[in-house]
């Protein structure tokens, strides 16, 4: 039978506020303010004081420990007996805020808790351990830090291989399944044989397929954008709905900010997140830093982050990718809802509330809402202008169009808001997929869940350097290729679970996007041939109709992409960028370079994460509201 060591006698304690004032840690005016906030939010007084930076976390918990009549233990200087943790679930410890510290001489176990050490709690913990326990107080931060350190291997394993273990077929750890490898080899062999036996006929067929494939892929995007444009006045979430939300009903919201070698922007991050209209005591910001990134860590500490920010060290190990870091964040997240922002992001202040309204309106199957992304440094150079053209149509037309047509939505890199539980059920992010966000959107659809969009915008830094752009795009395109391969492992099953329309939509969007970039150079070559030598000179290899179809597809496809790009920036009221849409064919050539690099990397370095460098902009003062 489990015995329980006598828990500390909890006296009728002085209220926390009074105790803090008595110790000179708080003024009456500050307490009045905090109590006012408490009436609005219903949060704990301690959380409000800590989040507002009025009292240090350590001081709050020390005072609490006194009022609980319970010793305080500082876990940063206390070693933890890891043998006590072997059969415990770290998720549960993090949620319940306790951790075994060490065995005592009398056979009981010393337990650190960040919640009031009442008798019932002691009995519950003793029953969990099967040993008598003695409770001591500590801070919630100490407990989470200790869990992170003591369970580092478990967290790393879960973050890296969790999805693969649960559902191997949905992980990009293996690039090709056996069937896919066989099919790929067969197609390559047959194509080579066809070219050997009938080179002209094969060239003709291939050219026609390339031209039509390009047009089909681009037309699909154009049609979806047209559908999306219908919803430009349909506000997904109105200002009134957001204002109707009371602080008391707002849940705890976790913000994940994965950063790597971003010391130059991490200071601005604190400023940007401080603009969010959300009670700070209901925010949990996890800054996810790699173990070897001391530079960003020091910059983050130097930026004096508020108490709502927790710096989490991602355990070292391969693959060293953003999704792995996010999985570590997901492991530790306590929020009912969760969002990812990049370090340089500037979300619109009411975005979290807008997401909550959208979730409140949707059914339980909606696991995620995606906010729009756009750029604050659009006018910096030609590349940032083109980037802005592209993002404007993608997030303002394409995603709303996909949502309206109930097609799978590949999530964008940041500003994806999730129901945390649902995200865990889905298996989190695939650390082996280099566009883990797009993959997650498609996986949601494949598993019968839905993704929505909201009109709130997050302003990011557009890539302003060409080399950096190619690196970033090659990663995105490689990720789309990975995602296509992953979700087409069982095409029949996919059709059965999602239907023909969604499967086709997925194939055309996620598979068609890299394909269209890969097809651009051959089409440009054909175009150049017709320009330079004339169609008659190459009639033997490219009969008239092939050239005609290819060039017509190229012209029509490019015109369509130019047009949606124009309309996208027109909608965003960035009128001066409209004429830049004419540069779209050149922009696509850059994509093609990235696409061929991506294809090569898919073969030789499938899981390699091409890091995008942020903080390159010289347009620091750019304001998103003044494009």
């Amino acid at each position: 039978m489990t015995t329980v060591a006598a828990p500390p006698l909890v006296r009728r304690a002085e209220p926390l506020g009074t105790s803090l004032i008595e110790r000179g840690l708080l003024t009456h005016a500050e307490l009045e303010w905090a109590l006012g906030v408490q009436r609005g939010t219903g949060s704990r007084l301690g959380s409000i004081l800590i989040a507002a930076g009025l009292v240090r976390r350590l001081d709050v918990y020390r005072v609490l420990s006194e009022s609980w009549n319970c010793p305080f233990v500082d876990l940063t200087v206390t070693s933890i007996d890891r043998t006590l943790l072997t059969r415990l679930d770290p998720h549960r410890l993090a949620a319940e805020l306790w951790i075994p510290v060490q065995r005592l001489a009398d056979g009981s176990v010393l337990i650190a808790t960040a919640e009031r050490p009442e008798r019932g709690r002691a009995q519950y913990i003793a029953a969990s351990l099967g040993l008598p326990v003695r409770l001591v107080a500590t801070t919630d931060w100490d407990i989470r830090r200790a869990i992170g350190q003591c369970f580092a291997e478990v967290i790393l394993d879960e973050a890296t291989l969790g999805l693969w273990r649960r559902d191997e077929d949905h992980s990009a750890r293996r690039v090709l399944s056996t069937v896919q490898a066989v099919v790929a080899i067969a197609v390559l062999v047959l194509t080579a044989e066809a070219f050997l036996l009938a080179p002209i006929g094969s060239t003709v067929i291939l050219s026609a397929v390339i031209g039509v494939g390009f047009l089909v892929s681009v037309s699909f995007k154009f049609i979806v954008c047209m559908v999306g444009s219908r919803y430009e006045y349909a506000e997904s979430v109105s200002r009134q709905e957001i204002e109707a939300l009371t602080d008391a009903e707002l849940p705890l919201y976790t913000i994940l900010v994965p950063a790597y070698h971003e010391a130059n922007v991490v200071g601005a991050l604190m400023q940007n997140l401080s603009r969010l209209e959300y009670p700070p005591d209901k925010l949990e910001i996890l800054l996810l830093l790699e173990a070897d990134d001391e530079e960003t860590r020091q910059a983050a500490i130097a930026a004096r982050p508020p108490e709502t920010v927790t710096i989490v060290t991602v355990p070292p190990g391969q693959p060293q990718t953003k999704p792995k870091a996010c999985n570590v964040g997901l492991f530790l997240a306590r929020g009912e809802f969760l969002v990812i922002y990049d370090a340089e992001d500037r979300p619109e202040p009411d975005q979290l509330k807008a997401a909550l309204v959208a979730f409140g309106r949707a059914d339980e199957r909606q696991v995620c809402v995606q906010a729009a992304l756009n750029y604050f440094n659009a006018g910096e150079n030609a590349l940032t202008k083109m980037f802005t053209l592209e993002y404007s149509f993608w997030f303002d037309y394409m995603l709303p169009g996909l949502e309206a047509m109930r097609l799978p939505i590949p999530l964008g890199g940041t500003s994806n808001h999730f129901r945390t539980d649902a995200l865990r059920r889905l298996g989190g992010w695939d650390p082996f997929n280099v566009t883990e966000d797009a993959d997650l959107g498609i996986r949601s659809a494949a598993l019968g869940e839905t993704v929505g969009v909201i009109s709130s915008t997050t302003f990011e830094e557009a890539n302003s350097a060409y080399g950096n752009f190619i690196r970033q795009r090659s990663r995105w395109i490689k990720g789309y290729l990975q995602t296509t391969l992953v979700h087409l492992r069982h095409p029949v099953e996919l059709v059965r679970s999602t239907g023909w329309t969604k499967t086709l939509g997925f194939a055309l969007l996620v598979g068609g996007t890299p394909l269209s970039f890969l097809l651009v150079p051959p089409l440009y070559v054909l175009f150049a041939i017709t320009m330079i030598v004339g169609p008659k000179s190459v009639a033997r290899f490219f009969p008239g109709w092939v050239l005609w179809v290819s060039v017509a597809c190229l012209i029509v496809g490019n015109a369509m992409m130019i047009y949606v790009s124009m309309m996208g920036v027109f909608k965003r009221r960035r009128y001066r960028l409209v004429l830049w849409a004419f540069a779209n064919p050149l922009y696509w050539l850059l994509h093609s370079v990235a696409a061929y690099k991506a294809l090569w990397q898919l073969v030789v370095k499938p899981h390699y994460w091409e890091k995008t460098e942020h903080g390159l902009t010289s347009d620091i003062a750019a304001r998103p509201d003044l494009p």
């Binding site: 009639a539 109709w545 009128y575």
Partner: protein
């Protein structure tokens, strides 16, 4: 700040995409089909009594003569207008089939016209009567069943104009898409649509809510670009293709419109003739005159839209790529209904209905004077066919 006149239009055209009549897709298509049935019957009747129309027959022959899958590329020079040729190629039944296709398309045009009027707080009865003043006329029957290419152009221009108004006044980019693509497709149906696209682009410069800020200038320029781009791209793309594959930039345009850029009698004389001819056609579209006057009384710059359409018709005729007389008459009637402002005063309503009566009388008057092809066709239809006394 927008002028007071802006508010007159804003709710009207904004609702165009959000409030439909009838509300459901099923309802809309049922109305279109129901409206189209008599016109399809008329097309069938005309086919059996007066034989296939010359215009539709020409289009069908042109489409049938193209061997696009052959190794030869000269066919590109004979493939303009590509949209109607593609339809003629795909739609079965030759010239008779095209007449039936035109009859079917009437449903779309009439439903859209009634819908637009109803969204301007016009009652169902009034909307139907106003639309009937255009649709129940020999010129409309003639164009719908005898000249598929012109009728398709007319429908596309009508759709583009409605989109243009919403885009200009409310900055709805969906309507911008519709306007641009409408003009672009119309240009690929008939070269005569190009001046209308240009006028549409210019309208965004002059008719938009007033503001002199630098940003507003950029906005207007951008708006003109997005309206004009599809037409310009389509035409430039087509010109490029025919140059590369047939050796001439303009052959297909001039083979469709042999008088293109010829200016018989000199520039000014041909311009005067064109203006006089279109002025004559205006006799058949008094509703457009009322619409222009009412628009001018509320907001002078908006009346530019009416004038622009008339100007485009003159330019078409002048440069030698004219819409046929009957098509022009029907187009002016449809444009008048598209531009008619909401909330007319009593005196404006009296003037409107008087002009409607006049328009109907003029429309049937063509049987005795003017618009010779319509008069001829109608006489043949009624005297030879089963409707003959």
């Amino acid at each position: 700040m927008a002028s007071p006149a802006t508010s007159l239009h804003a709710p009207t055209f904004l609702r165009w995409r959000t409030e439909r009549w009838p509300r459901t897709n099923w309802g809309r298509w049922s109305v279109r089909l129901a409206v189209a049935v008599p016109f399809v019957a008329l097309a069938d009747l005309a086919n059996t009594t007066t034989g296939p129309s010359v215009a539709n027959d020409l289009l069908h022959r042109q489409a049938a003569s193209l061997h696009w899958a052959s190794g030869q590329l000269g066919w590109v020079a004979h493939a303009y207008p590509p949209v109607t040729i593609a339809v003629a190629r795909l739609f079965p039944g030759g010239a008779q089939g095209l007449a039936i296709a035109g009859g079917l398309c009437t449903g779309i045009l009439i439903q859209l016209t009634i819908e637009r009027l109803m969204l301007r707080a016009v009652s169902v009865l009034a909307a139907v009567l106003l639309t009937a003043a255009v649709a129940l006329t020999p010129a409309f029957w003639f164009v719908a069943t005898q000249d598929f290419s012109a009728f398709l152009t007319l429908i596309l221009l009508s759709v583009a104009l409605t989109g243009l108004l919403d885009f200009t006044y409310n900055r709805s980019t969906e309507s911008g898409f519709i306007a641009g693509i409408g003009f672009g497709l119309a240009t690929m149906c008939d070269l005569a649509a190009l001046p209308f696209a240009v006028a549409g682009a210019l309208a965004t410069l002059f008719v938009a809510p007033q503001a002199k800020a630098v940003r507003e200038v950029a906005r207007r320029r951008a708006a003109a670009t997005v309206v004009l781009f599809p037409s310009a791209a389509a035409l430039a793309g087509w010109a490029f293709l025919q140059w590369r594959f047939s050796g001439s930039w303009t052959r297909s345009f001039s083979s469709t419109d042999p008088g293109l850029l010829r200016f018989p009698g000199g520039l000014w004389i041909s311009l005067a003739r064109a203006a006089s001819s279109v002025g004559h056609d205006l006799v058949f579209a008094p509703v457009l005159v009322v619409a222009a006057v009412v628009l001018y009384s509320r907001r002078p710059s908006s009346a530019m839209a009416c004038l622009a359409f008339v100007g485009c018709a003159i330019v078409d005729l002048w440069v030698g790529a004219p819409l046929s007389g009957p098509t022009m008459v029907v187009l002016l009637g449809v444009v008048a209904l598209a531009l008619l402002p909401a909330r007319l005063t009593t005196s404006e309503q009296v003037a409107l209905w008087a002009c409607v009566a006049l328009q109907v009388a003029a429309a049937f008057g063509v049987l005795h004077f003017g618009l010779a092809p319509v008069a001829d066709w109608t006489h043949r239809l009624f005297s030879i066919g089963p409707l003959a006394h």
